[in-house]
């Protein structure tokens, strides 16, 4: 192999997913294996149960990843983990596995911010250079753009996230977890639009009133397909509107849609329309890598490590509340200011 090739094994365990990815500085993502914890119908993710799931699944996920990797284990140059944000117990499980692997392989340990990992892998896979990013997932609903060594937040949710809105609604309707895909497939069959509260505040959105109203309509026995359709229309229009406002403001020429909810076709359609309206190119993360996965961590860790960032095992505490805009980014060289 080329002497300059650098390989990283990354561990994702911020919430429902335990994932191992292996990425190469020369060839991008090599391996991506994961196991997703699914709470019983009608229940939410319990952090300790998610952590328990990750503990149980870790050995087989690691074995599978190494098998697919197919090379000697000591060709791995660093071990990385998602340090935050996320559920404490789940994060700690991933961190424990990462510390053990790094110590055993005697390789440096690299901390990765999970949201930045969503963005970096999507940038690699789509070729977006300097986009307005719309990150929509279970943990985030954030409109952000890079400037001056940081991701700057232009808009976000003021209460719950888009993923959470869909998941909690789906749970109330006794749909299978994760809720987003279940709501999406029912929404496709919905026809009648049911009026629900639409709340935007500048570039921000607020979904809690929408969730309460949708739950109430559910109890009033409105047709579930129509409700799913209407919930999506209202929630996604709110995100599209605030994204468009941020796009008009920043005048970016690219829009990048990332995060688990980015897999939704109706949302993709809306965001691509606002991009087109403002002569910006539209990019969306490929479906396979839209949700949490180890590949995001492994690829981003290559960039982080190239900037000289490592963490000592004994100091590798997780950060459940780590904010995207608190992270200094030395590796992006976009010559931009706003």
């Amino acid at each position: 192999m080329m002497a300059s090739e650098f390989i990283c094994l990354g561990i994702e365990s911020t919430a429902h997913t335990f994932g191992i990815g292996i990425a190469s500085s020369e060839n991008g993502v090599l391996v991506d294996v994961k196991s997703v914890y699914k709470p019983p119908i009608g229940a939410g993710i319990h952090p300790r149960e998610a952590a328990q799931h990750h503990c149980e699944e870790a050995p087989s996920v690691i074995n599978q990843a190494l098998k697919e990797f197919g090379r000697k284990i000591d060709s791995i140059d660093t071990v990385a983990f998602s340090m935050g944000p996320g559920l404490g117990p789940a994060l700690r499980t991933g961190a424990t596995v990462a510390r053990a692997l790094a110590t055993w392989l005697n390789k440096p340990l690299v901390p990765v911010h999970h949201a930045i990992a969503h963005i970096e892998l999507a940038s690699l896979l789509t070729g977006a250079k300097d986009p307005l990013v719309i990150l929509v997932s279970g943990g985030h609903t954030t409109i952000t753009a890079y400037a001056g060594r940081r991701w700057r937040v232009f808009g976000e949710t003021e209460d719950i996230t888009l993923g959470n809105l869909l998941d909690v609604f789906a749970r109330e309707a006794s749909l299978l977890s994760p809720g987003g895909p279940a709501v999406e497939s029912l929404a496709k069959k919905g026809e009648k639009f049911i009026d629900l509260p639409y709340v935007v505040k500048g570039n921000d959105v607020s979904f809690s009133g929408l969730l309460t109203a949708a739950k109430k309509k559910l109890q009033m026995n409105y047709d579930l397909k129509d409700l799913c359709h209407s919930l999506q229309e209202v929630a996604f229009s709110m995100v599209a509107e605030t994204s468009e406002r941020a796009l008009a403001f920043t005048e970016k020429k690219e829009v990048l849609l990332v995060g688990g909810v980015a897999a939704n076709e109706r949302l993709q359609q809306m965001i691509s329309e606002i991009a087109c309206e403002h002569n910006a190119n539209f990019y969306v993360v490929p479906k396979r890598y839209s949700g949490d996965c180890g590949a995001q961590i492994a690829w981003t860790a290559l960039l982080v490590h190239r900037s000289g960032i490592e963490v000592k095992v004994e100091k590798s505490y997780v950060k459940p509340k780590w904010r995207l805009d608190q992270v200094t980014i030395p590796w992006r060289d976009v010559q931009n200011c706003l």
Binding site: A15, A147, R152, F154, T157, N203, F236, Q269
Partner: protein, 214 residues
């Protein structure tokens, strides 16, 4: 002549009965289903005209409304010649950033004292013209004296400074808060700032934990 494409509206500069006027037309959004879209555009057109008129009566500089056409979701208003605060603040040679933000804070304070919420406070919705600051784009605004809504108003401008003017964030926001306090008084300013922090914390940290466990 189309001079600007905002997020909601197209802005045209036209001759209107012998004067130069801005025509703000809220365009239909293809992404939004028809019923939702029509309702939103009409409500905001009415809101904007109403709130600008009320803001003007309490002395807040904002464009005179000449006419409104609800069918076409269009407002015709005075053309304010000047430079947006967005561009003014990001001019490195402009030294009076803090003073400018102090004045912005005063305007927001005056709005709040008059029971008006702007709803979209950002530096592209303010124009500096002949040493006065004009406020535009009231479509997301409301009549309210709620602490919550005041907090959100300040949160929006705070984040505009943090994101688009990060190099000058501290001086800008400090200046703004001083100006705001000057208008609403020490007590109210403290309460609104406290609420602002609560709102920030709400969205940022707790959403996932609470709901996932529920």
């Amino acid at each position: 002549m189309l001079i600007k494409k905002g997020a909601e509206a197209n802005l045209y500069l036209e001759e209107w009965h012998g004067i130069k006027a801005i025509i703000k037309k809220r365009m239909p959004k293809k992404y939004r289903i028809y019923e939702l879209d029509t309702k939103i555009r009409q409500t905001r057109t009415v809101r904007e005209a109403q709130l600008i008129r009320n803001a003007k009566t309490v002395g807040i500089p904002s464009p005179i409304i000449y006419a409104i056409d609800l069918e076409k979701t269009t407002i015709i208003m005075k053309h304010i010649e000047g430079t947006r605060v967005k561009e003014v603040l990001n001019t490195p040679t402009f030294e009076k950033k803090q003073e400018l933000c102090y004045q912005i804070g005063q305007l927001i304070g005056q709005l709040h004292n008059a029971g008006i919420i702007h709803g979209d406070l950002t530096t592209s919705n303010m124009i500096v013209s002949k040493n006065r600051i004009y406020l535009l784009d009231f479509g997301l605004g409301d009549h309210s004296i709620d602490l919550e809504e005041r907090g959100v108003d300040l949160l929006l401008i705070k984040r505009a400074f943090q994101s688009a003017h990060y190099q000058y964030f501290k001086q800008c926001f400090d200046g703004l808060i001083k100006g705001y306090k000057q208008e609403v008084g020490e007590e109210m300013s403290k309460e609104v700032m406290k609420r602002l922090r609560d709102i920030e914390r709400r969205g940022r940290y707790t959403s996932r934990g609470e709901l996932h466990e529920g």
